[in-house]
């Protein structure tokens, strides 16, 4: 069948579905009142009758409504908080109470369930909570917002700053650099990056944590799923909201590097430690100190010169929405602009080299009731981004690598001949990299479209409905480079008896004009088709919801073997009895093109039950317990993130041989890595128990505990196969990891008159353990990675520093390199009198993710004035401080920071915490050990906000409603051991930022 035909059929099918049936009715007027748990009226709630969707009424300020209907039809109430309740029409007077457990929670595949009857472990955060952050990438608004979700910040500019996301820690490990711990992120049911959205368009973010919630994601569920739902039209009549925010950004922490005198003294010390003479004479040292020869003996604080104190952000959004009779829509435009931290960026005629990021997000979400039984959903979103930076070879981090690595004493910014300073040792002049090499413009265009038709089939089979749809996304990235080269001059003083008698000037490189080049480094396309049948059956006080769905996905990335395809069939039966007892059976059958025939598809079932105790007679009257539910689940889900193309041995063309007398080579073929067989997906067995409770109407408690076991993890086989095979060894799907932990959420809230407050905290704990990884033979048990956490830190245990040669000769032989006084002395773990790889022991915790992730939030409001704050921290994680210049000094022409102030010298031997400075390669000191492993724990003040809601009488005169002014600080403080740099980003990268924002939100 041709493609053209398939589109034709699709249209035909849609048209058929549009045919509708006229209803025959005996209408009456029903009226009622809607109140919340405390008896307060619920205003502006949407009231509809399912059988007549074109009729929409909203409750007034007293919570009252009148609607036409017919006995036996289904009345549905939806509030603006997404609370949702249904009632079969009987009496003409209706009194309906709606409460928190009536909230609709996304449960995956664009389905929603009432919070009160969910049997699985799902965590949600809603827009009002997210909007307390000022961010570019919405993922950065998620720190500490959902129990079970670990969000770890990374350095880098705003458009590169994607935090690592883990749900319930990790329970798998990749091979080498291959990452298989990615969670699945879905926006409105389709896989899309969350970074493609702006925060203002997000209604809620949910994470699916246990098998009951994940089984329907089959091969893609095992690492957890994040559901991002965008806003739909709400409320009666057109409402327009606008917000503007101006932010001042500042580097959160910049490491302090030694000045020229300090550097030169350290270098001298290193020379002495290495057994040589000081490099700089006392006279030269004093020239660095006094600054009398600024060109020959410069003292440059590159970070002061290269960076400005503050950058800025501006963000403006306008949204409009309505829930009109047959159309529900939400539209949004969001503008974002950020100006970076570089200092001298306007040195060039006609262009700036400032790091800059500008982006417009657009979205229109429509739901249209085409007929009485047919609803069309069309979501169209896109973004256009553009950024600027100096045209360094890789990215803007090149500039920061130069700023951090170039020593204060290296060379002047410009010489007295107005040439860029530089030496053959330090050819990259950081200031020239900022303003002397041209600029690059980066752009991104993305379009994301989905179209769905939902057809009620009530007329055929009571309670049946069907849905079908497609989505198409495209992302296109380009880079326009305008690059030029600069020449630099090296100044070498010629000394005679310490006096400068002449200076040798040497020019390197040439100044060139700007040259243009362009590239399309990256693009992707994604296409999905979905269809489902839903059925609701009610008898007595029983209800059974059934769903069967099919989904087909295709993702095409740049490059060969970069097409990812999945086919999914999944289903769910949700049974409830008397509003107290709930049970779910979920399943999926999922196939992927990443795996070979025979092992590419898997069946993943899960069962779960819940018991809502607070509905039982013996508890329903309790004044203490407002809501109490117990949950339990068990089931399976999978992970198909495997290295591509390893199920067959590839035969590789290339590297041949050179016969004869000419250079021409004879091409060769060789056998590639042996086929990994059987190759299959990872299977995760997940079990979970949980409690949801509300006490006294003011304390929410949520407690979950889980035990997971992952099998079929791809591992290397070096440990089990002889090394003399003579070919790259295959991988095997035989690793396994167990993962267990718990989450606790507490939230206390109350409002007494004009005062409202909330106080809450989340604590997530996840600890994993490798059960099997076909580990290579380890002669001692303490060397074994099996039994430890994934990415457990391993290293040598330092027991001090060698004080002198006799200390060295009286100690076990340190076999990595020849040791000198000041080098690290290690503990001989196996008492074999040699320090080697066999003396490495587990140190601290995993270097990948923390075992503990926690947060606390507080908010108080009095009348319109309020304050909000969020702290978040991690514990039980270890980091390896191996960043050159910042932690590892001098060697390899690197810089030295204040971190090295406590380096060993003969006179400070008793108090030193770091080994002696050296310029040599030193395999003894610079390797994983307790000196360089540090506690990665931190506690951060993520946000503080002070806001003022203008009084109604004032703003109504201006024709406004809901206008808020606020000031907000983000990432203000961190308590940690690292101190000289943000413990979440210790690389030579664009620093993490703290921001101070002032903003206004206006509703029309």
């Amino acid at each position: 069948m041709k493609n053209k035909n398939s589109i034709k059929y699709l249209f035909l099918w849609f048209l058929l579905l549009l045919v509708s049936y006229p209803g025959l009715a005996q209408q009456r007027m029903f009226s009622g009142t809607i109140t919340d748990k405390n008896g307060n009226p619920v205003a502006d709630a949407l009231v509809t009758v399912k059988e007549r969707p074109s009729t929409k009424v909203f409750t007034d300020n007293e919570g009252r409504f009148n609607i036409l209907g017919e006995p036996g039809e289904l009345l549905t109430v939806t509030t603006n908080d997404n609370l949702h309740k249904s009632l079969v029409l009987e009496a003409e007077q209706i009194a309906l109470t709606i409460e928190n457990s009536d909230e609709l929670i996304p449960v995956g595949h664009r389905l929603e369930q009432h919070k009160g009857e969910i049997t699985s472990a799902i965590g949600v955060v809603r827009a009002d909570e997210l909007s307390k952050s000022s961010v570019y990438n919405p993922a950065n608004a998620l720190y500490g917002k959902i129990p079970g979700l670990t969000v770890l910040q990374n350095g880098g500019t705003s458009w590169n700053n994607a935090p690592d996301l883990y749900i319930r820690g990790v329970e798998t490990f990749g091979i080498g650099d291959f990452v298989n711990t990615n969670i699945l992120v879905l926006v409105d049911g389709f896989e899309r990056p969350i970074s493609s959205l702006s925060l203002a368009e997000i209604e809620n973010v949910a994470i699916l944590k246990d098998a009951a919630a994940l089984a329907m994601y089959g091969l893609r569920g095992a690492n957890g799923v994040m559901l991002v739902t965008t806003k739909k039209g709400n409320g009666q009549g057109l409402s327009v909201n606008a917000g503007y925010e101006h932010g001042i950004t500042q580097a959160f922490r910049i490491p302090e590097f030694l000045d020229a005198y300090g550097y030169a003294s350290a270098l001298n010390q290193a020379y002495v430690n290495d057994g040589g003479n000081p490099y700089y004479s006392a006279q030269e040292l004093s020239r660095f100190q006094s600054g009398t020869s600024p060109f020959l003996y410069p003292n440059i604080n590159w970070l002061d010169e290269g960076l400005r104190d503050f950058g800025s952000t501006d963000q403006l959004h306008i949204s409009f929405q309505e829930q009109a009779s047959s159309v529900r829509y939400f539209g949004l435009m969001n503008f974002y602009n950020e100006e970076g931290l570089l200092g001298p960026v306007n040195e060039n005629e006609g262009y700036t080299t400032q790091i800059n990021n500008f982006k417009i997000n657009l979205r229109t979400n429509f739901q249209i009731d085409l007929t009485r039984t047919t609803r069309l959903t069309a979501n169209i979103a896109g973004n256009i981004g553009q950024g600027n930076r100096p045209s360094t070879p890789n990215d803007e981090n090149d500039v920061f690598e130069a700023l951090y690595s170039t020593t204060s004493a290296a060379f002047p910014i410009k010489t007295y001949n107005d040439e860029w300073g530089g030496t053959t040792t330090f050819p990259d002049n950081p200031m020239a990299m900022i303003s002397g090499i041209g600029y690059s413009v980066r752009g991104q265009n993305e379009l994301m479209v989905d179209l769905l038709v939902e057809q009620s089939l009530d007329d055929l089979v009571k309670g049946l409905s069907a849905e079908a749809g497609i989505s198409f996304d495209n992302s296109y990235n380009f880079l326009d480079v305008k690059n030029r080269q600069y020449q630099y001059q090296e100044l070498t003083p010629i000394l005679e008896s310490g006096v400068i008698i002449d200076t040798v000037e040497t020019i390197y490189g040439t100044n060139t004009a700007l040259e243009f080049s362009t590239e399309v480094p990256y693009q992707w396309r994604r296409f999905s088709a979905v269809g489902n049948l839903k059925h609701v059956k009610t008898w007595g006080d029983n209800q059974l919801n059934s769903i069967l769905l099919l989904q087909s996905e295709q993702l095409v990335l740049t490059g060969q073997h970069n097409t990812y395809r999945h086919l999914l069939a999944a289903g769910n039966f949700h049974y409830s009895k008397a509003g107290k007892y709930f049970a779910d059976l979920s399943w999926s059958y999922n196939g992927t093109n990443l795996l070979p025939k025979g092992s590419r598809a898997g069946f993943f079932p899960a069962v779960s039950v819940a018991w809502k105790l607070s509905e039982e007679d013996w508890l329903s009257g309790s004044s203490m317990v407002d809501y109490l539910k117990l949950r339990a689940s068990f089931g399976m889900t999978g992970n198909d993130q495997v290295i591509q193309n390893i199920s067959a041995s590839p035969w590789i063309s290339g590297s041949g041989y050179r016969y004869g007398s000419n250079n021409s080579g004879a091409g060769g073929y060789t056998e590639g890595r042996l086929a990994s067989s059987p190759l299959t997906y990872e299977t995760s067995y997940k079990s979970n128990i949980g409690i949801d409770a509300n006490l006294f109407g003011m304390l929410d408690i949520n407690l979950d505990a889980f035990y997971n076991k992952r099998e079929g993890i791809l591992v290397q086989t070096q440990g089990s196969i002889a090394g003399v095979m003579g070919v790259e060894l295959p991988y095997a799907s035989s690793g396994s990891v167990k993962n267990m932990g718990a989450e606790l959420g507490l939230n206390l809230y109350d409002n007494t008159g004009d005062l409202t407050y909330h106080l809450g905290g989340y604590l997530s704990y996840a600890k994993n353990e490798i059960l099997d990884m076909l580990e290579v033979y380890r002669p001692y048990d303490y060397l074994k990675r099996t039994g430890q956490s994934v990415h457990q830190a391993f290293g040598l245990e330092a027991i001090g520093f060698f004080s002198n040669e006799s200390d060295i000769s009286n100690s076990p032989e340190h076999s990595f390199s020849i040791v000198r006084p000041g080098d690290i002395k290690y503990k001989d773990q196996n008492n074999d009198d040699v320090i080697n790889d066999f003396d490495e022991v587990p140190i601290g915790y995993s270097t990948q993710n923390p075992e503990l992730y926690f947060s606390g939030s507080v908010g108080i409001a009095y009348k319109g004035l309020g304050v909000e704050a969020l702290v978040q921290g991690i514990a039980n994680m270890t980091m390896y401080l191996n960043t050159p210049s910042i932690f590892w000094p001098l060697r390899g022409n690197n810089n030295i920071s204040s971190f090295s102030n406590d380096a060993w010298t003969p006179s400070t031997a008793s108090t030193a915490t770091l080994p002696g400075l050296t310029l040599r390669e030193n395999a003894n000191n610079f390797r994983p050990n307790t000196v360089w492993y540090a506690d990665a724990s931190y506690l951060k003040l993520r946000s503080v906000e002070l806001y003022y809601k203008l009084p109604n009488q004032l703003i109504s005169r201006l024709g406004l409603n809901e206008t808020t002014l606020y000031v907000r600080g983000m990432n203000l403080l961190s308590f940690d051991e690292i101190e000289i740099i943000d413990p979440e980003a210790i690389g030579l990268v664009y620093p993490t930022l703290m921001t101070f924002n002032i903003g206004i939100k206006i509703g029309f």
């Binding site: 069948m1 041709k2 493609n3 398939s6 059929y9 035909l12 099918w13 058929l16 579905l17 057809q455 089939l457 055929l460 088709a529 269809g531 060969q560 073997h561 395809r565 086919l567 196939g591 093109n593 025939k597 590419r600 067959a648 041995s649 590839p650 035969w651 590789i652 063309s653 590297s655 041949g656 041989y657 050179r658 016969y659 004869g660 007398s661 000419n662 004879a666 091409g667 060769g668 073929y669 060789t670 056998e671 042996l674 089990s720 002889a722 090394g723 003399v724 095979m725 003579g726 295959p730 290579v776 033979y777 002669p779 076999s815 990595f816 390199s817 020849i818 080697n836 790889d837 395999a923």
Partner: protein, 592 residues
């Protein structure tokens, strides 16, 4: 009638998922047609079958570094020669400095280090053996190739295996011998290490089998020089048999006791003089056929006496001359620069500084050693009138260099200061570097002359001297052929067996620097005395090229084994991780 909508819906779903773009089931999940090659598509075409063999040739050992990392990065930018008395390394990260001079080498080092002298798996010997087996096992499928040519390719594949096994044999002793291309499911516990004697026999059997189907010489040299010939097989056989007959294994006692010695993996269990005879016969067979056909021999283009240097340079450097019996190829030099790291590592980084000890080994041009009072050697003008091979092996102060003269006095352009890594010993290597002039070497392939004809002559001379209890006339003739080519006179007559043996070993040292001969000569003769020597360096003091120069001989830094000698250094240690997989690797003596 009400149900027609359901039916339409179902049809709609089917059409959506069922059309070509989204076929249901496996069809959708099949991989798109790619450009991947399978084993079958290789052996179903003669051209690809050949290319597979070329891929196996690629694994052959190469003496110098041609890459920064991975394949062909030997000893972390260093060379085996720097473990001998001929050169010394100052490369701070190279294998000699970090592992051998420091004495830090052990069996755990072999687990991961790429700086050891011969790693069990990282030298890709077993890769070459496997590739050869795959060719031998599958070439029968190739339709468009005649049987004779298939046999020739198989013979070439066997030669690749024989070379790799020879290397393993010389570094480890008895080897783990694979009999086919294994799969991970196979049981490796049935593959024990062969005894040293069985290893030699198996390599010889490979050579014998290959000899039958290999051409005696390559007809189309401009195109195919570098492929194996019958002469290659005969030469390798002579080399491996000489090693096997030497005292390291062929002695009345093992060089060091241990489980491997007790199992005769690193010792023959006794002395057998006939092993020398076998080696002599193998060399003689090749010499006889080479001389009778005139196809192989010492390269000599009959140029005038002052061209002896050039003549000898071309002998080891040029291809297709009939001198090199096994020529191994890798990278080449291009117009844009020096394509291989050997240049950088041996020159500026100091991996291969020739020792003054080695310089002293070269006789005068007359052939008399410098210690002979009649030689005319002048310590104040030490580089005059020496064996021409000295000038082509080492760059000496005042010799021509890049269109001028080399300045190796301290402060000169080649040796800026006394303490630098460049020319730290006072000398720089010239062999394989030639003039270090990118233009003159532009486009030339540097080959590794794995075995040259002089080695066969010297092998015969050495073996027959051992078997007969002294030098024969034929033995003298063979050594003199090598000496005469560079203008040295004949060896003095009437040498004792021991004197003759030393003369042959010296000749090998002079002829084969950088060709990985010296190390194996030292270990097979268990030359503890040479390992324990303190090696010498040279400082030349002077102000300009005009001189006058003063020559200061100094002691190079002591290597660990000078004061801590153990015979365990003769053989490498197996990686402890491999030994612990318990499939038959018995650790070598002293490394347990």
């Amino acid at each position: 009638m009400k149900y027609y909508k359901i039916i339409f819906f179902a049809i709609g779903l089917l059409l959506t998922f069922g059309c070509e773009k989204f076929p249901v089931g496996n069809a959708f999940l099949e991989k798109a047609p790619g450009v991947d090659v399978t084993k079958d598509s290789i052996f179903l075409k003669a051209e690809y079958t050949e290319r597979f063999l070329w891929g196996a040739y690629q694994t052959l050992p190469y003496n110098v570094n041609t890459a920064n990392n991975g394949w062909k990065n030997k000893m972390s930018h260093d060379l085996l020669e720097s473990l001998t008395d001929l050169t010394h390394s100052y490369l701070s990260w190279g294998g000699p400095t970090t592992l051998y001079y420091s004495g830090l080498y052990n069996s755990a080092t072999e687990n991961s280090s790429s700086a050891t002298k011969y790693h069990l798996t990282q030298e890709h010997s077993y890769d070459g053996i496997r590739r050869a087996y795959i060719l031998i096992e599958n070439i029968h499928m190739t339709p468009d190739m005649d049987a004779a040519y298939k046999n020739q390719l198989k013979a070439e594949a066997r030669m690749i295996q024989a070379i790799h096994y020879t290397e393993l044999f010389r570094h480890y002793g008895g080897v783990l011998w694979l009999s086919n291309s294994f799969s991970p499911e196979d049981d490796f516990s049935n593959i024990p290490r062969l005894t040293a004697q069985a290893t030699c026999d198996s390599i010889v059997a490979l050579c014998n089998k290959a000899m039958v189907d290999l051409p005696w010489k390559i007809d189309n040299l401009p195109e195919w020089d570098g492929r194996f010939t019958k002469a290659s097989a005969m030469a390798l056989k002579a080399r491996v048999m000489l090693f096997n007959a030497s005292p390291l294994f062929n002695a009345s006692a093992p060089f060091l006791d241990g489980e491997a010695s007790q199992q005769n993996l690193t010792w023959h269990g006794g002395y057998d003089a006939n092993l020398w005879k076998d080696a002599a016969d193998a060399a003689e067979a090749l010499i006889t056929q080479a001389e009778s056909t005139g196809d192989y021999g010492l390269f000599d283009n009959n140029i005038a006496a002052d061209g002896l240097r050039k003549n000898w340079h071309d002998a080891y450097y040029d291809r297709g001359t009939g001198e090199t019996l096994i020529s191994i190829r890798d990278m080449f030099r291009t117009a844009s620069g020096w394509d291989y790291t050997f240049y950088w590592s041996s020159f500026g980084w100091g991996s291969t500084n020739p020792t003054h000890t080695y310089v002293n080994m070269f006789p005068m041009a007359s052939g008399l050693p410098i210690t002979d009072p009649a030689s005319g050697y002048d310590p104040d003008n030490p580089f005059a009138n020496r064996d021409p091979r000295l000038y082509e092996t080492i760059i000496l102060n005042g010799d021509y260099y890049r269109g001028r003269v080399a300045e190796l006095w301290i402060g000169g352009r080649e040796r800026r200061n006394e303490g630098g890594t460049q020319a730290r010993s006072g000398y720089i290597i010239r062999k394989f570097q030639c003039d270090r002039d990118g233009n003159s070497a532009n486009g030339t392939i540097t080959h590794f002359p794995y075995i040259r004809m002089p080695e066969i002559y010297l092998t015969y001379a050495e073996a027959i001297n051992e078997f007969d209890g002294g030098p024969t006339a034929e033995a003298y003739r063979c050594v003199n052929i090598v000496r005469n080519r560079v203008g040295l006179g004949d060896l003095p007559a009437g040498l004792s067996q021991a004197e003759f043996r030393e003369a042959v070993l010296l000749e090998r040292a002079l002829e084969f620097c950088m060709e990985e001969v010296r190390w194996f000569d030292l270990i097979r003769w268990k030359r503890e005395d040479i390992f324990k020597q303190t090696l010498l360096g040279m400082n030349i003091w002077g102000d300009s090229n005009a001189g006058p120069f003063t020559y200061e001989v100094w002691d190079l830094p002591k290597r660990f084994w000078v004061d801590n000698w153990s015979p365990k250094w003769y053989l490498s240690a197996f990686p402890v991780n491999e030994v612990n997989k318990r499939y038959g690797l018995v650790q070598n003596p002293g490394w347990e």
